[in-house]
Amino acid sequence: MRPAYSVIFFTTATGAGYGLLALLGLLGAVGTLPSDITLGLVGLGLAMALITGGLLSSTAHLGRPERAWRAFSQWRTSWLSREGIAAVATYLPAGLLGAGWVLLGRTDGWVAAAGVTTAILAALTVSATGMIYASLKPVAEWHTPFTLPAYLIFALMTGLVVLNALLACLGRWDPWWAGFAIAATLAGWAWKIATWWHNDTLRLPSSANTATGLTGGSVRSVEWPHTEENYLLKEMGYRIARKHSERLRLIAQAAAFALPIVLLLTAMMSGALASLIASVLAALLQLAGMLIERWLFFAEARHTVTLYYGR
């Protein structure tokens, strides 16, 4: 599948944004985070910037973005429509949470209720994003039980690493936050390795035989209907060289998981300034690594239409 940059940025940015938003909502509600106005302003502001930037970027891959409002209508059957509705619905409790935290400086009572509601809607939005891919039967690497949890785990992971950096910047940090961020990053790393391990043995759900109705023996494509690449080959027939895939997997693992863990461990064991720099670097590296991970998510996915082209 063709990796569209707008969709890669969208899923990575909104993942981190909704993860951070949900953590702020929940941890604010239970009182783990201080009801500090600066934290509310910067934290919620950053989360909403990631989410809104991602959502706006997602409209860039549309052929007719001016009609995007129509996407809120088909929630009965379409995960894309559900994602859009959940995304917009999250703004309401998030706005209330922001009003309580930033304007009134409190995270208890109705503000806590808004925080919990925000977290639930954020989780639903990320789940809908995951289901868009997990529900597509023709794409072997996406139609697996690994896809939906991956979106949720990575949202929590990037949200927590960003929150850790944020608390370090605001002087609200203590080593426990880095510890939680390391645990989440380890979970994300394990899930990604398990996903790759599973996907590497996957075959397409169909064969050239069932695609053509020709039973038995071998079916080999000898002539395409066209001499140039068409939409199908550009969009669904995207292929990545195995050697590039292997190298990019290593780079993604280093940037998204290994180096952030090392940096977070360093942060736990150093003084205030060093831990601040290490925490911020960990977050930036992880987000960059997740962009590569998301690029591979598309580039390595195979679609059944390629069977007709002998690919």
């Binding site: 891959h61 053509t212 023996g217 209907p225 969009e235 007709y308």
Partner: protein, 242 residues
């Protein structure tokens, strides 16, 4: 609405005979010609006369080599929308632009509602939908709804353009929901199959597999001896045989 009708009054579709298709591409060009001015017009072509030509086509003919223990043969394979009973291209659509008609089962796109998110083309395992980069919306086979119900056309021409164009009669059009229809009988007689049945899309269009090759049942009769032993030709034969 992207909810698929539980059942449709008719299931209009095509039956494609892989035994008789000769890969002449007449259905491809006829489809393009009609639909470039039809319901889903335009069928944009980008750089049609230069390198990197691209464009929207509803019907494309592939060529495969099918090798089994018994035989090896070339099979020409027309590929177009199968107007599935369970079209995931319809249910994934976020805007309601994609829909399946309850009256005849034809799957269509409302070009005025399509936002061009391309998700329907990802959901189709058969590659039936092609994005029009110029107009910014998804395009697909309409089963020539502007021909099959067109009272301005003579009765015999009210079939999809690809069916009308086929010189070998490899394409048949009709109601596959009616077991008594000619296309249903043909499918039953020839063992017509669904493409990728394991995915559960329940395509309406059927493909008739190539027939088994005809076995030569009798050895040809031995030739008559060619020698003439008298007359002028016998003399010539004797002279030439020396």
């Amino acid at each position: 609405m992207t909810t698929v009708p539980a059942r449709t009054e008719k299931s209009l579709g095509l039956v494609i005979d892989l035994d008789t298709c000769v890969g002449c591409q007449a259905c491809v060009t006829s489809c393009k010609q009609w639909n470039a001015g039809g319901h889903m017009a335009p069928l944009t072509d980008i750089n049609p006369y230069a390198g990197g030509a691209d464009g929207v086509w509803f019907n494309r003919v592939h060529t495969f080599e099918h090798v089994t223990d018994a035989q090896a043969r070339t099979v020409h394979f027309p590929r177009s929308c199968l107007h599935c009973a369970e079209p995931a291209c319809v249910t994934v659509c976020p805007t309601g632009a994609s829909y399946k008609r309850a009256s005849d089962g034809i799957v269509l796109v409302d070009e005025d509602k399509c936002i061009g998110c391309k998700l329907c083309s990802w959901a189709c395992p058969y590659g039936a939908r092609e994005f029009d980069t110029d107009v910014g919306v998804m395009k697909k086979c309409t089963l020539c709804i502007d021909r099959i119900y067109n009272a301005n056309l003579p009765e015999e021409d009210r079939v999809p353009a690809c069916v009308a164009a086929c010189p070998t009669g490899a394409r048949h059009f009709g109601d596959l929901g009616d077991p008594a229809s000619a296309v249903s009988k043909l499918t039953a007689d020839r063992g017509g199959v669904d493409l990728m049945p394991e995915l559960g899309y329940r395509p309406t269009n059927k493909y008739l597999p190539p027939r088994s090759p005809r076995r030569v049942s009798q050895a040809p009769a031995a030739l008559e001896p060619a020698s003439a032993d008298d007359g002028f030709l016998g003399w010539v034969d004797r002279i030439l045989s020396r």
